[in-house]
C-alpha cells in the first residue's frame, strides 16, 4: 500500500488557552474521498486548518504528501477551502479566479474549467458580493481547483446548497478522486457520509472512529449512518 496522503499523530491544538484537539492520530489514504464528520464545534475545522498548515499546533506531527504540514513545497500541492467563502466580494467571479490563477501560476484554460466544474457558467461577470451564499461558496471552491492540487481540504463545501447542486458536487468530488486527487471533506450532515470512501467521526476534539460506511453499518447494526453515529456515541458513553 502506498503511503497515506495525510498522516496525523498525537496532534494537540490549543485555542484561547483551551485544548480543542486532544492527541488526535489518523491516516487518510491517497486518491480517496474521506469524510470528516461530527457535530459543530467538535474540532473539524481546527483539524483541517492544522493539516493545511495555517493553525499553530501545540504538539504532535502532521505529514502531508510526504512533507511536514505547512511547508513551502506544499502550498501549490494542497487546495484549501474555508467554511466562510474566502474570495473578494468586491470583485467579479472572473477577476477573483484570474487573480488566484496568477498566484498559483496556471493559464486561462484552468479558469474556464474551474467555472464549469462548479456550474457557475454565465456568472463570470457578476460581482461575488451580489451572488447567493451557495454561489459564493462555489466561487471559493473553484478558486481552490485552479491549481489542480493533489490534496483538497474542503471545510463544509456543501453548506447552504440545494440537494441537486449538492449531488452534483459530490459527483465532482468522486470524479476528482478517480483522477487521483485526495479529498478530505468535512460535513455535519450525516447523509453525506454515504458518498465517502472512508469516514472519520469526531466528537469533542477526539477521533471516535475511522471506518468505511459499510464497516460502520456492520459494527453498529444500523443501516442509517446518522443512527450508526449516535449508536457509537452511546456505546462510548456507556463505557
Amino acid at each position: 500500500m502506498s503511503r497515506p496522503a495525510i498522516s496525523v499523530s498525537e496532534l494537540r491544538v490549543e485555542r484561547g488557552g483551551r485544548e480543542v484537539l486532544h492527541g488526535l492520530s489518523l491516516d487518510v489514504a491517497r486518491g480517496s474521498v474521506t469524510g470528516l464528520l461530527g457535530p459543530s464545534g467538535c474540532g473539524k475545522s481546527t483539524l483541517m486548518r492544522s493539516i493545511v498548515g495555517v493553525q499553530i499546533v501545540a504538539g504532535g506531527g502532521i505529514e502531508v504528501l510526504g512533507e511536514a504540514a505547512g511547508s513551502t513545497g506544499l502550498r501549490s500541492r494542497v487546495g484549501y477551502v474555508t467554511q466562510a467563502p474566502s474570495v473578494y466580494s468586491d470583485l467579479t467571479v472572473e477577476e477573483n479566479l484570474r487573480y488566484f490563477a496568477a498566484v498559483v501560476d496556471v493559464g486561462e484554460e484552468r479558469i474556464a474549467a474551474a467555472v464549469s466544474t462548479v456550474s457557475l457558467g454565465g456568472f463570470e461577470r457578476r460581482l461575488v458580493g451580489s451572488l447567493s451564499g451557495g454561489q459564493r461558496s462555489r466561487v471559493s471552491l473553484a478558486t481552490a481547483l485552479l491549481g489542480e492540487p493533489e490534496l483538497l481540504v474542503l471545510d463544509e463545501p456543501t453548506v447552504g446548497l440545494d440537494p441537486v447542486l449538492r449531488a452534483e458536487l459530490w459527483t465532482t468530488f468522486r470524479g476528482l478522486a478517480r483522477a487521483g486527487t485526495t479529498l478530505l471533506v468535512s460535513s455535519h450532515v450525516m447523509d453525506e457520509a454515504r458518498e465517502c470512501d472512508e469516514l472519520l467521526l469526531m466528537r469533542d476534539g477526539a477521533l471516535l472512529t475511522h471506518a468505511t460506511p459499510a464497516e460502520l453499518r456492520e459494527e453498529t447494526g444500523e443501516q442509517d449512518l446518522g443512527s450508526a453515529f449516535l449508536a457509537l456515541i452511546e456505546r462510548e458513553e456507556g463505557r
Binding site: V54, T72, S76, Y80, T82, V103, D105
Partner: protein
Amino acid sequence: MSARSTGATALRVLWQIRHDPRTIALMLVVPTVLLALLYWVFEGKPQVFQQIGAPLCGLFPFIVMFLITSIAMLRERTSGTLERLMSLPIAKADILFGYGIAFGALAAIQTAIVCFVGFVALGLEATHGAWLVALLAIANAVLGMALGLFVSAFAQTEFQAVQFMPAFVLPQLILCGLFVARDEMAGFLQAISWLLPLTYAFDALARATGQEPLDSAFAADVLVVVGATIASLGLGALTLRRRTG
C-alpha cells in the same frame, strides 16, 4: 517573491477600487476641495496659505492611503482571503509590494490633481519644482500605506480601524510643524516629534516648497522617510502570519 504575483496583486487591488467609483471620486476630489477651502480661509494671508497649503499637497496621500490600506487589509484578514493567500505559493513581499504599487499609482493621480490645482490655479509656489512635491507625495503615500497595513493587525473591527486615523495620524500632523513651527513647541513635544516619521515628511515638503536652497538636511529628511517606509513594511510583513492560533 515573483513579479507575476506582485503584479497580479497590484492589479487585483486596482480592480477592487475600480468597482467602487465613489471611493475613486472621493480620493481624487476631496484633497483638492480641502486645499481650496484653505485658500479661501487664508484669503489675504497668502504667506500662511503658502506655508500650510504647499506642504499639505504632499501630505494628503499619506493620510488617505493610511486610512484606505488599514481598512482594505483588515478586510483581507477578516474575510479569510489573507488566510487563503498565506496557504498559497505567494510571498509576503508580493502582497506588500502589490499593495504598494497599486496605492502608489493611485497616489500619483491624486497628487497630480492636487498639485495642478495648488501650484497652477491657486498660486502656490513650488520653488524647487512641483514634480519634487509630487515625488515626495508618492513616497509619503507608500509610507502611509505601510503604516496602515501594520496597524490593521491591531484592529478587530472596521470601527476600530477608522479610529486609528485620528489616533496615529492626527498627532503626527499636529506635531510635525505644519501648524506651529517645531522650535516654538515645548521641549518634550519637540522630542516626541523627532520620533514621528511625518515630521520628516513635512520637513522635506517644507524645504521643497521653501525659499532656501536644498541641502543635506533635505536629503536627510528623504532618507528618514524612505527608512521609515522600509521599517513599516518590515513590521507589516511581521503581521502577515502563515500560521495563526
